[in-house]
């Protein structure tokens, strides 16, 4: 490979990402148009300056479309579940039940937006936590922008070891490490992710009610954050694949005794300013507020209990996971090459998808079972009869919301795939490693992981792309391999807070398509702070 790693080509490599961010955040274009512009920019740069043949870009584009299918397989069933619940009054029932469980708004938002989201990430991933929790928070009265931003930030710590260790296992596939380095990487990753857990918790609380909320909620944050953060260390010693699942489950269980603590059982009178909440606690129209939901709170929660059970069973029970994972689908692609020697191998089945083992299957089963149950019990008919303005049919509503959510995700992944096949992603990382002194590189290492996650909307993909490069650079610069690899993993996690596909997913289920740039404005400051903290921890581990 003879990639030109000079300033000119480095800037060109960064242009598609900069263009995407510019159109979304500065110009407030919708994600689909911004993503399309990103694809157009990367295509032009690849053809003109990176000697990428048109056929190579075509193959890359098709692979990007296939990469998106895995995410769409979560979005469509999640939106189906959302509309089934909405048409039957499920969210109104849930909101009333949650309000009855605890009268402390902050506690409920922490429970749903942080703890439950993290648990879902630990067992499922693929964007499921955001797609599920965002509408729950909206139902509770959280403003839609915050209903998306809060779970996005709060679940970041569980990304790397989440989905029962998929990211961790994928990383081990692409690097060759001895046992001691593997263990050190797991422990140092846990340390860096611990800071993200605590930062996520405090940010959620601050978003809810600013400094008054922090003063009220700091014991809760330290307890939950402590369980999540410190729980990782014994968990990874048992099996890194459980590094998020065990502490996330422990934190979920801890909610029950914590809800009995008077401080968090009663409303927090000291928190007056609540910018994350709608004006009315219901956040609903007067029409809906008058209607009594036709189902009990337990019935309303049934889909989420079922989903958690399916996700846990299919992931944790080995024989079940093996059987479900046997059926796979995928497309063949030829090898490609550019004029600069960037080569990708031919594959008979590119990125094989196991549809029965995928979280989308569990979501689809949950959505269909819930739909049948609600229709047969007459919930949908009863709830719609009480509304002055009826909702559209479930399937029409699904198409109207799922298509606008799907298109930008396809464009983002097409863009990421083209950047990778043309060598632009590699140029970005190689350029950074070439100019930065060892200490500076140590600080910036997690930024490479974050860029990878931003471009692909996947911490796993970021680790697959950059782990080998990070290990090589660490060895050249005399930095500890485990520390730099942990930084890559932590960066791949935190980059998801600004990953466009994640934001689109949340925006679609929260009913605010087109507001992706505004959501990103909420998550970007946290991402920058987490990057700086992770960088400082990396330098400390490398030199102390």
């Amino acid at each position: 490979m003879q990639l030109p790693v000079d300033l000119f080509h480095w800037v060109l490599s960064a242009l598609p990402i900069a263009a995407l961010a510019f159109f979304m955040i500065q110009l407030r274009w919708g994600a689909q148009q911004a993503g399309a512009m990103g694809v157009i920019v990367v295509t032009g740069i690849a053809l003109l300056f990176f000697r990428a043949p048109l056929e190579t870009l075509g193959v890359a584009g098709a692979k990007g479309v296939w990469d998106a299918v895995s995410i769409l397989f979560v979005i469509w069933p999640a939106l189906l579940l959302f509309h089934v619940m909405k048409r039957a009054g499920g969210y109104e029932s849930m909101r009333r039940g949650i309000t009855a469980m605890s009268r402390n708004e902050l506690f409920i938002i922490v429970a749903l937006g942080w703890v439950f989201t993290s648990f879902l990430q630990a067992v499922d991933g693929f964007g499921t936590p955001i797609a599920i929790v965002a509408p729950l928070l909206v139902a509770f009265g959280v403003k839609p922008i915050y209903a998306v931003a809060i779970p996005i930030i709060a679940h970041i710590w569980a990304k790397f070891f989440g989905t029962l260790g998929v990211g961790w296992l994928a990383t081990l596939q692409v690097v060759q490490l001895d046992e001691s380095t593997i263990l050190a990487t797991a422990l140092e990753s846990s340390l860096m992710l611990s800071f993200q857990a605590l930062m996520g918790g405090f940010t959620v609380v601050w978003m809810y009610g600013r400094w008054e909320a922090v003063k009220h909620g700091w014991p809760l944050v330290l307890i939950i954050g402590g369980i999540q953060a410190l729980g990782q260390f014994p968990a990874v010693l048992v099996d890194p694949a459980l590094g998020a699942f065990l502490p996330a489950t422990a934190a979920l269980i801890a909610l029950f005794p914590l809800s009995r603590w008077r401080r968090y059982a009663e409303p927090a009178e000291s928190i007056v300013r609540r910018p994350a909440m709608s004006v009315s606690h219901t956040g609903l129209s007067a029409d809906t507020a008058r209607s009594v939901p036709p189902m009990s709170t337990l019935t309303a929660f049934f889909p989420y209990i079922l989903l958690s059970a399916i996700a846990t069973a299919t992931s944790l029970i080995g024989p079940v996971a093996d059987v479900l994972g046997r059926f796979t689908v995928g497309f063949p692609f030829p090898g490609t090459a550019t004029g600069f020697g960037v080569v990708t191998e031919a594959q008979d089945t590119y990125s094989a998808l196991a549809p029965l083992a995928h979280p989308g299957a569990g979501l689809l089963v949950t959505a269909v079972v819930t739909w049948v149950l609600f229709v047969r019990r007459g919930y949908e008919r009863t709830w719609q009869a009480g509304l002055a303005v009826k909702d559209r049919s479930t399937l029409v509503s699904l198409l109207i919301t799922a298509i606008p959510a799907s298109v930008p995700i396809v464009t983002f992944l097409v863009m990421a795939s083209m950047m990778n096949h043309a060598g632009q992603t590699q140029t970005l990382a190689l350029g950074l490693s070439a100019v930065a002194p060892a200490a500076v590189y140590a600080f910036l290492a997690n930024g490479i992981g974050a860029v990878g996650a931003f471009a692909t909307s996947s911490s796993t993909s970021s680790n697959v792309l950059f782990s080998d490069l990070q290990v090589n650079v660490a060895q050249i610069k005399g930095l500890p391999v485990s520390t730099i690899l942990a930084a890559q993993s932590a960066g791949g996690a935190l980059g998801n807070a600004i990953a466009p596909a994640n934001i689109v997913m949340g925006a679609s289920t929260a009913g605010i398509n087109g507001k992706e740039g505004i959501i990103m404005r909420k998550t970007l400051p946290w991402t920058a702070a987490a990057f700086a903290v992770t960088g400082a921890v990396t330098v400390a581990l490398a030199y102390l």
Binding site: Q32, Q33, P332, F333, P334, V410
Partner: protein, 84 residues
Amino acid sequence: MRALVLNKTMYLGVSFVLLLVSLPLISAGTTAGASAEVPAGASGPGAGLLWAGLVCLAVGIVLLPIQRLLTGTDDEDPDSPDDD
């Protein structure tokens, strides 16, 4: 044509279908009939499929900013009280 451009679900749906259709076309077009002597791709047996796939991919992508340029907006509610 006007309805396609003005109706958000319609133009996004067309774009989505074109992008999805490009996947099997490009895969088949670049691997169909490939062998050591006759490479697949732009000059191989699957050339027609490949070019069809590339056109679908290109139109599916370009349709999106063109819609915005023709109508000036893609948002249904550009301003919202939740934007703080």
